[in-house]
């Protein structure tokens, strides 16, 4: 009779805390929670705007609450973290071959930052005009 009895280990619930690489990954994924919150607050503002000036001003005043400022600072930090880590991963999804050589990663990453700057300036112009 076979003595085989393969043992299956359980995945501990805190698996993502046991290795810095996994923790960073979870922060990247977790950033979406705060970015969702940020978008909801923004959408709420648009909704308040549709209700007239008083409603919109009340929404603006609420944004000055320290709690709101802290929330936005966290969202900003996480959004930047997500952007930086995501851009550094971008070359993995892009295989561009030019004259028989694969375009080096640093060009793809630089391209992403370039586009990021251009789009940001464009948005700033729209907002301030």
């Amino acid at each position: 009779m076979s003595k085989r009895k393969p043992y299956v280990r359980e995945l501990p619930i805190d698996w993502w805390l046991k290795n810095a690489f996994y923790t960073k990954y979870m922060i990247r994924e977790g950033s979406s929670l705060f970015i969702t919150l940020y978008s909801l607050i923004l959408a709420w503002g648009v909704f308040r705007l549709s209700q007239g000036e008083a409603a919109f001003n009340a929404w603006m005043a609420a944004l000055h609450h320290p709690f709101s400022i802290i929330l936005h600072l966290i969202a900003l930090a996480l959004a930047l973290y997500h952007t930086v880590t995501w851009f550094s991963l971008a070359p993995k999804a892009i295989a561009l071959w030019i004259k028989g050589k694969r375009l080096p990663d640093k060009f793809i990453i630089a391209g992403h930052y370039g586009a990021f700057v251009v789009v940001s300036i464009f948005c700033l112009i729209i907002i301030t005009l």
Binding site: R9, L11, K92, A93, A95
Partner: protein
């Protein structure tokens, strides 16, 4: 010379007598050029002949000696005691695989996955042997070569939390192998393989943790293979919307 030693903890499991794995410590004479695999061989030869582990080539090419070294998937023959000394070294069987005995894991699921991706050339039409080999330029080979360097060690599966959470996920090495054939100019099997790629258990089971590519001892970069396949899969989907077959 004052002989110093290093402590090696091994997660042991003997199916015929143990209910669950337990840790056993060994003291091994330290030398800077001793690999973890050699230290296991020392233990087996001099301290405890019952310890089980797999190995063959001792030069990072057979892919047999994968294990968790201080929690990180490594090839035992490619990692050295000097990387840890004077701290102790903790060895465990590869994560995410069932333990067969001590450091030996059951790899059947991994092998099945490698087989499932049709890892062979599917030419457009059978060629007569007399017409000679399929020709390929160095550039055409370059496009898939990296993904063909896999030694089937399974380290990437031990590194993949998505595989840990859902064993149905095709996983890094098998998808890299799939990409290797899809990108081969002599192959015409892409349409067949895209069915595997497009599934939830295919590339979309990957959330781009990226640790597989960090632990891979052969720089296969399976994470890149999967992301490239995601691009292919998206294209496939868009084309399918306009041109259903």
């Amino acid at each position: 010379m004052n002989a110093s030693t290093i402590t090696i903890d091994i997660l042991r499991y003997r199916p015929e007598m143990d209910e669950k794995p337990f840790t056993q410590s060994y003291e091994v004479p330290y030398s800077a050029d001793l690999s973890v695999l050699e230290s296991l061989q020392y233990i087996k030869d001099h301290l405890d002949s019952t310890v089980s582990f797999r190995w063959s080539c001792r030069m990072a090419i057979c892919g047999s000696c994968g294990m968790m070294v201080n929690g990180v998937p490594k090839l035992g023959c490619k990692v050295f005691l000097r990387d840890y000394y004077p701290k102790k070294v903790t060895l465990a069987p590869l994560a995410n695989f069932p333990i067969e005995r001590d450091l030996v894991v059951v790899m059947d699921d991994f092998i099945d996955k490698l087989e499932s991706v049709k890892p062979y050339l599917i030419p457009e039409k059978e060629k007569d042997l007399a017409t000679g080999p399929h020709q390929q330029t160095p550039l055409q080979m370059e496009k898939f070569k990296q993904f063909s360097m896999c030694i089937n060690c399974g380290l990437c599966y031990a590194a993949c939390p998505q595989y840990a959470l859902d064993k149905k996920f095709t996983g890094p090495a098998a998808l890299a192998l799939l990409a290797r054939y899809n990108r081969d100019s002599r192959d015409n099997g892409e349409a067949e393989r895209m069915k595997i790629v497009n599934q939830e258990e295919g590339v979309w089971g990957c959330t781009f943790v990226g640790y597989c590519s960090v632990v891979c001892p052969k720089d296969v970069d399976p994470a890149a293979a999967i992301q490239l396949l995601k691009v292919d899969s998206s294209k496939d989907y868009l084309i399918g919307m306009f041109k259903p077959d």
